[in-house]
């Protein structure tokens, strides 16, 4: 029994994995390539008593050792003993794919050219003269599609036939250069002693080595009496820089075997783009489409989020509380209000995340995502951002957490970091209840206008900071902007749901540890020493820290200051805190066993949540009503001349201060500690300064 290593190589998204899947009918063994988080996938099959390891190498355009994908692929091919290369190419896009094919050919390893997506090629009337192509390249060419099982056996047989063969591929060059190469070859051959009996392949290898500047070969040539000057002259047409262009000349000549009407493939795409990328309608259509999608996400997920919230707080908490009736009060409170509430806080986001990732996956798969970047690149570049950062920032208005994860789709590291730091300035949905409450208490009719003003200040500060930050090295951007607009495709449900599943799983894994601890900590400081919030550490902190906030206007009331640390859990806790402190609501509820009844209520709630979710996606829901007594209590926080200004500064401070722990966690997970610290310090300094200046300046004017 022999072991063979078969490498599947090709450009990104040409169907390498699909082919390995098809040939092995098996799941991949998945791991990461050393040093980078690019998946290493491998499947092992037994064919005719021999075992074949099918390796899925990362998609790449060349073997230049510059990007991670290139390094992994080229090192694997050069260092491991590869018995056969299966070069998978997109038959509908042959011209670009063939560049890699020529590079692979130079490795002198047995090769198969697998033309994938032939079904699509047929549909676009692309005709490829397979035999002529195969003869010219000296490698077997198979036209197939990974979804069409009738060709699997043929491919398998070809792999078996090729594996372990010794091959020699003549260099492919434009006609003129080929003659020069033959002359070079003969010149070298003449000087090689006959008794060595070198084969053509070995001589070609030597020529390749000398071209790459190999010292040993140069020494060898000298001992054989090859004139250095003459050799240099003969080698001149084959320098690496020139070779790149020559490869393209060769590809051009290979394209003679392909008859296609280039426009046919893009016909549908062009027609859609005519509308979606229209000079006048392009942007309005984008804003319309995007707001509809956001509405769909936030309204569609809200009832499900509420359901989970209800389940955790009203159902699970209640019964855990009852089950722990034997335990001391502190332990019960810790479990219910600390741990369960903490886990619940994470779980509540799941439907929102799933909806958001669904939307992103659809945008990405359909091909519209890169078009957004095209439409908005110019506008965002004023602020050293790119078109794609716009998408992340916009998502931030719904929720900062997925917005930070969405920065992954950006093109380069610096843009990603800059965008991630700016996202918390986009006022998320959780901050809205705070504004609504304060605006209703102090601004009455002008409430809406004031809320919009707060949003606008957030955006302005973000853009201003973008310009400041981009002066620093961490965010400096020497970017090589080139973007591909893929043809529109109807997203495949399977791919979309697979993506959503992976992302949601990842989110749960990432969110459960740090966040949980942070939430328990906040519970501890708002419970101890006496077991109620008014005399807790957090309240006494608020009392003493309020001096610091006097210049910002709202520091005259310690309650507002004390509500801030808790807002790190989630911004809406500000409302809950004020509710508890100002209205002195008792949190001691007596629970009763009523399992059957409660479970039924839960089931009914689930039903209506699913229904509401479906209905909400198409209609637009309203905000929840605030309790009137709380609005009244808040309106009495400040009654002096500057009361309104104080309230406004508080709203502003809530918007700009440190984002919630989930967002911080997302920033930390994606970009590490340095960026986390940058974000935290920004969100400490900026809100203080902003509120300070606004209060000081306006208190003079008003």
């Amino acid at each position: 029994m022999k072991e063979y290593t078969i490498a599947f190589v090709g450009n990104p998204n040409v169907g390498k994995s699909a082919w390995i899947n098809a040939l092995s009918h098996a799941d991949f063994k998945i791991g990461n390539w050393p040093g980078v988080t690019i998946e290493r996938k491998e499947a092992t099959v037994t064919w005719q008593d021999d075992s074949y390891h099918l390796i899925d190498l990362p998609g790449t355009y060349s073997l230049d050792d510059i990007t991670n994908e290139e390094i992994i692929t080229s090192q694997f091919l050069k260092q491991e003993k590869v018995d056969c290369i299966v070069n998978v190419v997109d038959a509908t896009n042959l011209q670009r794919n063939l560049y890699l094919t020529l590079l692979l050919r130079e490795l002198q390893v047995p090769m198969i050219l697998l033309l994938n997506f032939m079904d699509e090629a047929d549909r676009y009337h692309i005709h490829i003269e397979i035999q002529k192509l195969s003869r010219r390249l000296q490698i077997p060419v198979i036209a197939a599609s990974a979804y069409d099982a009738s060709k699997y056996e043929h491919v398998q047989q070809e792999i078996i036939d090729q594996s372990g063969k010794t091959v020699f591929y003549y260099p492919l060059l434009p006609d003129v250069d080929y003659e020069k190469y033959v002359a070079l070859f003969h010149y070298v051959e003449q000087h090689i002693p006959h008794f060595l009996k070198l084969e053509d392949k070995q001589i070609c290898d030597m020529i390749t080595k000398i071209r790459e500047g190999d010292r040993e070969t140069a020494l060898q040539f000298r001992t054989w009496g090859i004139d250095e000057e003459k050799l240099k002259q003969k080698l001149e047409p084959f320098g690496e820089a020139v070779m790149k262009e020559k490869r393209y000349e060769v590809i051009h000549s290979l394209m003679k075997y392909v008859k296609e009407n280039e426009d046919l493939r893009l016909e549908k795409t062009r027609r859609i783009d005519k509308l979606l990328l229209h000079r006048f309608w392009g942007l309005p259509l984008f804003f319309l489409l995007f707001s509809l999608l956001l509405l769909f996400v936030f309204h569609g997920s809200a009832p499900l989020n509420d359901f989970i919230d209800y389940t955790v707080h009203e159902y699970i908490s209640k019964y855990v509380y009852l089950l722990l009736s034997w335990a001391p009060k502190v332990l019960r409170e810790l479990v219910v209000n600390g741990i369960i509430a903490g886990v619940g806080g994470v779980l509540v986001f799941i439907p929102l995340m799933a909806f958001l990732y669904l939307m992103l996956a659809i945008l990405e798969e359909s091909g519209y995502m890169s078009r957004i970047a095209f439409l908005l690149d110019r506008a965002m570049r004023n602020f050293h951002l790119s078109g794609k950062s716009f998408v992340s920032l916009l998502i931030g208005f719904g929720c900062n957490v997925p917005a930070v994860y969405a920065t992954r789709t950006l093109d380069n590291e610096r843009q990603k970091k800059l965008t991630a730091v700016l996202i918390p300035f986009m006022s998320c949905g959780a901050r809205l209840p705070v504004y609504v409450l304060f605006a209703a208490a102090f601004f009455k009719q002008k409430a809406g206008l004031m809320i919009v003003t707060v949003y606008a200040i957030g955006i302005l500060l973000a853009l201003l900071l973008a310009m400041i930050f981009s002066r620093f090295q961490t965010f400096q951007d020497h970017d090589l902007f080139v973007l591909e607009l893929p043809p529109y495709r109807v997203p495949k449900l399977k791919t979309v749901f697979h993506k959503v599943k992976l992302e949601v799983k990842g989110y749960i894994k990432k969110a459960t540890n740090v966040v949980l601890w942070a939430m328990i900590l906040i519970w501890v400081i708002s419970y101890f020493p006496k077991g109620n919030i008014e005399s807790s550490y957090i309240a006494s902190f608020g009392r003493s820290a309020s001096v610091l906030y006097q210049p910002l206007g709202f520091g005259t009331r310690w309650e507002t200051v004390a509500s801030l640390p808790g807002s790190v859990i989630a911004k809406e806790t500000v409302v809950g805190f004020l509710d508890q402190v100002l209205l002195k609501t008792k949190s001691d509820v007596t629970y009763e066993w009523n399992l059957w009844e409660d479970t039924r209520t839960l089931a009914v709630k689930l039903g209506s949540a699913v229904k509401d979710s479906a209905v909400n996606m198409v209609t637009i829901g309203g905000y929840e009503k605030q309790s009137d007594s709380l609005v009244h209590a808040i309106s009495e926080l400040w009654t002096d001349r500057l009361a309104k200004l104080r309230a406004f500064c508080f709203m502003l401070y809530v918007l700009l201060s440190i984002p919630c722990v989930m967002t911080l966690n997302a920033i930390y997970r994606e970009y590490g500690r340095k960026l986390l610290l940058i974000s935290i310090s920004t969100m400490l300094i900026v809100p203080y300064l902003t509120a300070f200046f606004i209060f000081q300046i306006f208190s003079l004017i008003l």
Binding site: Y61, S62, D64, I66, T92, N93, Q95, R96, Y99, K244, E245, Y248, E249, E262, R265, L266, T269, D273, L277, H278, R279, F280, G282, L283, S370, A373, F374, L375, L376, D377, R378, A379, L480, F481, V482, L483, E484, L485, P486, P487
Partner: protein, 82 residues
């Protein structure tokens, strides 16, 4: 016979006009990336459209639709083709 070759900048191309690239005055790294997408000395390029805000620009090269910024496209020289 006199052959008149007029070189112009890629940005001067109007929608639906075709041209051949004659020179790229761009960084090594950027040229390499463009090469893999089919943009190199000698390739044929067709202008597709401008973005609504006048920048970036969309081109058709090597069977694909590519987006380049005006500032980069300015450094690519072309000769017009029929």
């Amino acid at each position: 016979m006199l052959i008149l070759v007029i070189t112009m900048k890629l940005t001067e191309l109007k929608p639906r006009e075709k041209a051949r690239i004659t020179h790229l005055d761009l960084s090594e790294e950027y040229q390499r990336r463009l090469l893999h997408l089919g943009v190199y000395k000698g390739s044929v390029i067709r202008m597709e459209r401008l973005a609504p805000l006048g920048d970036p620009l969309e081109y058709f090269v090597c069977g694909n639709l590519l987006i380049l910024r005006r500032s980069d496209a300015q450094n690519i020289e072309i000769t017009r083709e029929g």
